[in-house]
Structure formats: structure tokens, C-alpha cells
């Protein structure tokens, strides 16, 4: 009899545990709808977060010294930001920890950096790609945040108004190839590359020349709660980068100089970032309301 009671108690406890787990899981999961689904990883319940942002970089290029990397895979920046103070808002990272998605981009010419001329025959281009951009000799570069997401700054009025810095991001570039090991980076948390991206016009040091971005076209959605900017071009060509470090593992003392020679001069005026985006911004308050009305 006692054993039976104990068994019932155990089953009841297990059921309760399962129910509460299920309940917790349901409660934690945002049931956002429409355009608000983009803000699932925004800290919209935090009253300090005023806007949620979901920015998709669809194309563009990053020029680091002699290396020009076209952006072929989407990169997503997501999170939220607070009220602007002196033109800039503090950033709140994505709740899932992926504020800036890691999308390895192929570096044309791979490790050796041999890039065929644009007018080269298709066969030459294909052969160079086959031999120099394979798993062994190919080179990928991945953009990563160099500091916590709270170090990102958003200039919302600058973004729409096409002046000053719209988005400031401390980043580092992860160079990936079997020979370079896992820790080959240009930029670090102590010495980050700081992009001051603008939709306006840059004023870089020579040899770079001024380039212009664009705020793109604005569309208001979700009864005024969400704004979508399409064709937004964020640019910066005045940034400097530190030398590559950590390349080649224990042979770093040999490999780092080779990588740095390949990169060439990477001081300010030799690098460019051009990011073509679709940016969706929403009211954090409206996102919270949307969540609460769809339990």
C-alpha cells in the first residue's frame, strides 16, 4: 500500500514537473506575429529598450588592405537600443546571444591571393577557383563582434538623415584556413577595428576618396509600429586595422608576417566597408504588446 502511494506521488510529481517545464517553455517563447517576428531576439521587455532592430546585410564588400572580400552570405545584426543621448543610443544585444551572425565569406584568390583579371576566360577563372579556393588553400573571413554588444552605438537620426555615424561597431575579422589555425584574427577585444558606418558621405584619409551611403527607402508597417528601410547603404572607408595575430598556431611567429604581407597596408585610408542592408526597426513597446496579445 505504502509503495503504491509512493508510486502515485512520484508520477504526480513527474507530471507536475513536466507541466511546469512545458508551462515555462511556453511562457518564455515569444509568440510574435507579422513584422514583429523579426524582433524575437530583442530585449523588448526591458523598459530601457525603446526600439528593436533587425538589419540584414545582403551584399557589399570589405576591403582590408590588398584583400577585397565581397559579401555573398547574409549577415544579420539584431537586438535593441535605448533612448538617444547626444545623438547615440546604447545597444542591447540579442537575447539568444547572436547579435551579429557569423557568416564566413570567401576571400577571392584564397591564401595565395591570386585573383584572375575580370576579362580572363571562364576556364581560367574556374581553374584558379578550383585550385586556390578549395578547402585546403581557400580562405574565409568572418566578421565578429570584438567587444560586448553594449559597445555598439546607434545614431537613429543620423541613419535616416544621412549624416554623421549611423552605426558604430567594434569588430574583428576571423581568417579561416586549415594552415592558419583557429585563432587568426585581424582585430581583437583590446584592439578592435571600429567601424563608424554612415549613410552620408565619408571623409577618409588618402589614398581612399570620399564615398557616399544612402538611407534607402522608408516604409511604415504594422500600424505605425515598424519602419523598414530598404536599399540602405552603410559605408566607412576611414577605419584602420591592427596587424593579424594568432595565425598558424605555434608557428604564429612565422605565419603572422606572411599573412600581414598578403594583406598589405591596412592603416586608415586603405580599408573600406560597404554594407547594403534592409533594416527593420520596431517600437519595443509595440513588440511587447504584440507578444502579450498573442499568448
Amino acid at each position: 500500500m505504502q509503495a503504491k502511494r509512493a508510486r502515485i506521488a512520484c508520477v504526480a510529481l513527474a507530471a507536475l514537473a513536466l507541466a511546469s517545464l512545458f508551462g515555462l517553455a511556453t511562457g518564455a517563447q515569444a509568440k510574435l506575429t507579422g513584422e514583429f517576428t523579426k524582433f524575437a531576439n530583442c530585449e523588448y521587455k526591458n523598459t530601457e529598450v525603446k526600439k528593436c532592430i533587425y538589419s540584414v546585410t545582403e551584399s557589399g564588400e570589405v576591403v582590408l588592405g590588398k584583400k577585397k572580400v565581397p559579401i555573398e552570405k547574409q549577415v544579420i545584426l539584431q537586438g535593441g537600443y535605448g533612448k538617444a543621448v547626444e545623438g547615440f543610443s546604447k545597444f542591447y544585444g540579442a537575447t539568444n546571444g547572436v547579435t551579429l551572425s557569423k557568416a564566413p565569406q570567401n576571400v577571392p584568390g584564397g591564401l595565395l591571393g591570386i585573383v584572375p583579371e575580370a576579362e580572363s576566360p571562364a576556364l581560367v577563372k574556374a581553374l584558379i577557383k578550383f585550385f586556390l579556393e578549395n578547402k585546403l588553400t581557400g580562405l574565409n573571413s568572418t566578421l565578429e563582434l570584438a567587444k560586448p554588444a553594449s559597445e555598439i552605438r546607434v545614431g537613429e537620426n543620423h541613419l535616416a538623415g544621412e549624416f554623421d555615424t549611423a552605426l558604430e561597431m567594434p569588430v574583428k575579422v576571423h581568417l579561416e584556413n586549415p594552415f592558419l589555425g583557429k585563432n587568426c584574427y585581424v582585430g581583437s577585444s583590446t584592439s578592435p577595428i571600429v567601424w563608424k558606418l554612415t549613410t552620408g558621405t565619408t571623409a577618409p584619409p588618402a589614398p581612399n576618396k570620399a564615398i557616399s551611403g544612402s538611407a534607402g527607402s522608408l516604409e511604415v508597417l504594422e500600424e505605425g509600429a515598424v519602419a523598414r528601410l530598404t536599399g540602405t547603404k552603410l559605408v566607412d572607408n576611414a577605419w584602420s586595422a591592427p596587424k593579424a595575430t594568432g595565425c598558424g598556431g605555434i608557428l604564429a611567429f612565422l605565419v603572422n608576417p606572411i599573412v600581414n604581407t598578403q594583406l598589405g597596408t591596412i592603416t586608415a585610408g586603405n580599408n573600406t566597408a560597404i554594407l547594403n542592408n534592409t533594416i527593420t526597426i520596431g517600437s519595443a513597446f509595440a513588440t511587447k504588446e504584440n507578444d502579450e496579445t498573442h499568448p
Binding site: S214, E219, A225, F285
Partner: protein
């Protein structure tokens, strides 16, 4: 001798052609008129838009009271003017989340002039600057001041004594209004009526 005469003749013909062209251009410049006579001196016209709204795709802001006051004159045969007042009241949006907490014309006066495009007469307003503040935390523009800037051309209808602004008239007059760096639409029909020396006189542009 004959060659010299021919050359002089050709030069005179060219000059005559230039004069004719100049005369055509000068007469093409539209002027403000009252009862068919060109305005001399200045006059103030004012009125209230029968309907007026500004649209960013997805967000239309409409004002029930859209008043205006323009000081007009003719200068060198062309109608000129300046918008001196533009009080805007009772403004709303077509969205659930955005309300208009403040709206005001900035940097007045705005220069205006008459111009002809594709044989229609237009009043072109330059230096337009309207600031709009949207309220309600659920609005994406909450605590953001949206400035509408640029120039706008409205087609003048002498029969109805109105100036109409819309996407077609802005495009025809090669003018553009922007808000948050995006092109916006302005729709409005403005009756024109003299307020000073030419009260109750028919106003026209030609």
C-alpha cells in the same frame, strides 16, 4: 558687295529670331492677376486647404486645419511670393499607433514663384520645412522629430481659383519633398483669395 549684304541680312534675321524667342519666353512667365490685370505692388492671399495630407509609404498624416498666408507680387513680369504663415491644427494619422503631438512649419518665410511646365501654370514653393513629432510609445517614430523638407509645385486652376498639390504636380514641376531621406507624397487643394487690396476680385495666373 552682295556677300556683305547677305551676311548683314542673316545677322539681322538671327537677331529678330532671338528677339522673338526672348519675347516668347518673357510672355510665358506667368504673373499674378486680379480681374485679368497684372498685380502691381503686393497682395496677401490666404486660405485653408480643403484637404491636405502628407504620406510616407504606410503613414499618412492629415490635418483638418491647414491654413496658409502668402505675400505675392510680380517681379520682372513673373509672379513671386513668400509663404509667411502656415498654422497646422487637428492633425491625425491613419495608423493605430502613431498620434501627432506637435506639427509646425519651420524656417518661414518660404520663397514661392510661378512657373510654366508643359503649358500649365504652377506655384512652386521652395524651402519647405515642416517638423512633425509623433507621440505614443508604440509608434516607431516616438520621440523622433520627422522633418519634411524640399520644394513643392502645385498646379493653378484659374477657374476654381485653387492650387492643387499631389504626386503628379510635384513630378511635373520637378519638385520633391522628403522625410527621413525618403520621398513623400503631399496631397492638397488650396483655394486662393486676396485678403488686402483685391478682396473679392477674381485671382488668376497667366
Amino acid at each position: 558687295m552682295r556677300t556683305k549684304q547677305t551676311a548683314i541680312g542673316a545677322a539681322l534675321a538671327a537677331l529678330a529670331l532671338l528677339c522673338a524667342l526672348f519675347a516668347t519666353t518673357a510672355s510665358a512667365a506667368p504673373a499674378w492677376k486680379f480681374e485679368g490685370k497684372s498685380l502691381e505692388g503686393t497682395e496677401t492671399i490666404l486660405g485653408a486647404a480643403t484637404e491636405s495630407s502628407m504620406t510616407i509609404p504606410g503613414l499618412t498624416t492629415k490635418c483638418e486645419n491647414f491654413l496658409y498666408k502668402i505675400k505675392i507680387k510680380n517681379e520682372g513680369g513673373t509672379g513671386k511670393g513668400e509663404v509667411t504663415e502656415l498654422p497646422l491644427y487637428n492633425c491625425t494619422t491613419n495608423t493605430k499607433n502613431c498620434v501627432v503631438t506637435a506639427i509646425a512649419a519651420q524656417k518661414l518665410p518660404w520663397a514661392a514663384h510661378l512657373a510654366t511646365f508643359s503649358s500649365s501654370n504652377y506655384v512652386v514653393i521652395e524651402g519647405v520645412n515642416v517638423s512633425i513629432e509623433y507621440g505614443n510609445e508604440a509608434c516607431v517614430f516616438y520621440e523622433t522629430i520627422v522633418n519634411v523638407t524640399g520644394s513643392a509645385g502645385g498646379i493653378v486652376n484659374n477657374e476654381t481659383e485653387t492650387a492643387t498639390f499631389n504626386a503628379t504636380t510635384l513630378s511635373a514641376s520637378k519638385t520633391e519633398l522628403k522625410a527621413l531621406s525618403s520621398k513623400i507624397e503631399w496631397n492638397g487643394v488650396f483655394p486662393t483669395e486676396a485678403f488686402e487690396w483685391h478682396r473679392e476680385q477674381a485671382i488668376s495666373v497667366s
